[in-house]
């Protein structure tokens, strides 16, 4: 009886919830919302500049300084060596490609399924895609060592008789990541055009010139909206298979090799879900950071959005656990001697703590906490869980790449990987990502105002019997 009474009480509380708690039922005049977004862009506190300068120094020293040192001294200053040829460079590549997945997932998939909570957070997520892919690309170029010879990858007649083989998994990577970075940048830009036009109309000085150039002369005529709407529809559907293909192809870099721990048919979806796991957690972190650090953002980003992201994180964490266990089970049951050596090494070797930590971060903590509505709606807690998940996912990639490379089918070559300059470069890429993001928040409207107004127009409250229920109209 107690349970029944409790659930009844919960239902009554839900029924009497003030609809204005939801962004879609708390509209403001468009001019006011525009003003709030512009104000948030133009307001820069001293804290912003302190963080900006600190990150700039980190980028200068740890990214460009360390990269310059690497170029000057060669790959010998990095820890990559036999048998772990792919160290933190590749860990970070996979990590950043994973982060980049969330932008497309949150924006495109939720647009396709008309999930309304996406509206204020799509741009923040799309920006993550673009900036995450920049970091991933840089990690690959760092790993090349002699980066000035990277043009050798381009097919052109040359005296050395070197030609790229387009059937190689590394060429697929190149094609997939290039397709994805171009597609996600275009997908970021298209819905941004109306907001750039809004910013143009409300700016002066150099910002006016900047927004004027980027707004391309957009006015909002029927034709312009039609072309934009159709294009965004095509992008939302077409970019999803590209997103899935990118991380699947990244996984094939590993799975196509006959190495213990890597040769697995489940690696494609396992990597995709892993990417979503870290990416959606990163979106939650970014959204919470924007909400707490930028003016007026509490109006646009509300506990309902954090709640929805928290649910998404929980579901994806369950999916990740499913694929992780699938991969583990088949490798364990297979009975291959070297795979068993590797599995023991992962769990009880010097980095065994990392293997258990990844389970704690990716499964135990999210499952224990994210079922709770109060936790999901608490910005500080959700941010912390997002951070923990991302640490766990970085550990997972570390276990998959350098730790798995340690144990191969030639025991005489077994050797622990000890990172060198790549640690500094990893810190540098993280700082560069945050720096780019901070600059972007001051240069472009971080909230798609027109999408929010469109959503508020589509939402209404109606009476069903004695209850007032929320309803959404199809505007397309």
């Amino acid at each position: 009886m107690a349970v029944t009474a409790e659930s009844l009480q919960h239902t009554l509380v839900e029924e009497h919830e003030d609809p204005r708690e939801h962004l879609m039922f708390d509209p403001k005049p468009r001019g006011e919302m525009n003003g709030m977004v512009m104000d948030s862009m133009l307001t820069t506190s001293w804290k912003f500049w302190v963080v900006f300068i600190a990150l700039s120094i980190l980028v200068a020293v740890f990214l460009f300084g360390a990269w310059g040192y690497l170029i000057a001294n060669g790959l010998g200053v990095a820890g990559v060596n036999r048998p772990s040829y792919w160290g933190i460079f590749l860990v970070n590549t996979v990590f950043w490609v994973g982060i980049s997945h969330a932008g497309t997932f949150v924006s495109a998939l939720l647009r396709v399924f008309k999930a309304e909570f996406r509206r204020p957070i799509t741009r923040a997520a799309e920006l993550m895609t673009a900036f995450g892919l920049i970091q991933a690309g840089m990690c690959i170029f760092m790993h090349m060592g002699r980066v000035w010879l990277s043009y050798w990858l381009i097919p052109y007649p040359n005296g050395r008789g070197l030609w790229p083989n387009f059937h190689s998994p590394l060429a697929w990577d190149f094609l997939a990541i290039t397709t994805y970075i171009l597609a996600s940048t275009m997908y970021l830009f298209l819905p941004l055009i109306p907001d750039l036009a809004m910013a143009r109309d409300r700016s002066t000085g150099w910002r006016k010139v900047f927004f004027r150039i980027l707004a391309l002369g957009f006015r909002g005529t029927e034709g312009e909206w039609t072309h934009l709407r159709i294009a965004m529809g095509i992008f939302a559907f077409a970019i999803l298979p590209v997103m899935f293909s990118v991380h699947t192809i990244v996984s094939w870099d590993f799975a196509a090799a006959m190495r213990p721990g890597w040769s697995s048919t489940i690696f494609g979806p396992y990597f995709v879900v892993g990417a979503l796991q870290s990416g959606v957690a990163a979106v939650a972190m970014v959204v919470i950071f924007i909400r707490s650090s930028m003016k007026h953002m509490k109006y646009f980003i509300r506990p309902e959005h954090l709640d929805a992201l928290g649910k998404l994180m929980l579901v994806i964490s369950m999916a990740w656990a499913y694929f992780f266990f699938n991969d583990y089970m088949v490798q364990w049951y297979g009975g291959d001697k070297f795979t068993h050596y590797l599995m023991h090494f992962q769990e009880s070797g010097p980095l065994g703590w990392m293997w258990f930590a990844l389970l704690l971060c990716n499964v135990v903590i999210p499952w224990l906490l994210l079922w709770n509505r109060k936790v999901r709606r608490n910005p500080g807690l959700l941010f912390t869980i997002g951070l923990i998940i991302n640490i766990g996912m970085w550990f997972e990639r570390y276990i998959i790449i350098p730790v798995s490379l340690t144990i191969n089918r030639m025991p005489f070559s077994w050797r622990m990987y000890r990172p060198g300059i790549e640690v500094a470069l990893g810190i540098g890429t993280l700082a560069f990502f945050i720096l780019l993001y901070m600059i972007a928040t001051r240069l472009i409207p971080i909230v798609p105002v027109w999408e929010i107004q469109e959503g508020q127009m589509a939402h209404s409250l109606r009476k069903v019997g004695k209850a007032t229920v929320k309803s959404v109209s199809e505007l397309d």
């Binding site: 083989n165 275009m186 409300r202 909002g220 005529t221 034709g223 294009a231 095509i234």
Partner: protein, 174 residues
């Protein structure tokens, strides 16, 4: 034929704007002489306007075919141009070919969709055009051509239908 004039009527909400469009038709203004400018996408069915033509889907289809052909060149022709023979392996293997074809087809489709928006909307276009900044603040502008000698009748009609302002359209630097 009398001289034509372009007027811009600004409305707060969609309903009076739709009523104004209907009234303009009753006053003899054809659909192609009317344009609606708004800060959010208003569909043809909301405005009661004829369907807008867009080449974007056709360009996307064309782009995907072009991408497929480039992918086919990379997958089928480059191995023949410079054979890289790896012992016991096919020169043109099947499954990797699918990967190359897929990526290039999608790239072609997405790039041409993006370019399609630019072509159909004639972006970038920075020459002065009829516009008022209030549009991006949520107002709906109905822009129409009418006979200059009947301008006052149109202005009065728009005012009576709830237009916040009605004036000859001025070119704004965008």
């Amino acid at each position: 034929m009398s001289e034509m004039k372009t007027l811009l009527a600004l409305f707060e909400d969609i309903d009076p704007a739709v009523a104004a469009i209907d009234h303009l038709r009753d006053m003899g203004i054809r659909d192609e002489q009317i344009n609606v400018i708004s800060g959010i996408p208003l569909t043809e069915s909301m405005l009661g306007r004829p369907r807008q033509w867009s080449n974007v889907p056709r360009l996307a289809a064309g782009g995907s075919i072009a991408g497929f052909l480039i992918g086919a060149f990379l997958a089928f022709v480059t191995p023949l141009l410079y054979p890289v023979s790896v012992g016991g392996q096919a020169l043109i293997p099947g499954p990797p070919t699918i990967v190359v074809l897929f990526e290039m087809t999608m790239l072609g489709m997405l790039v041409s969709t993006f370019i399609g928006v630019f072509l159909d909307s004639t972006f970038p276009s920075y020459r002065p055009k009829e516009y008022v900044p209030e549009i991006s603040d949520g107002k709906i502008a109905v822009l129409f051509n009418c006979p200059a000698d009947n301008e006052m009748a149109f202005m009065n009609a728009m005012t009576n239908l709830g237009a916040q302002s009605i004036a000859p359209a001025e070119l704004q630097k965008l």
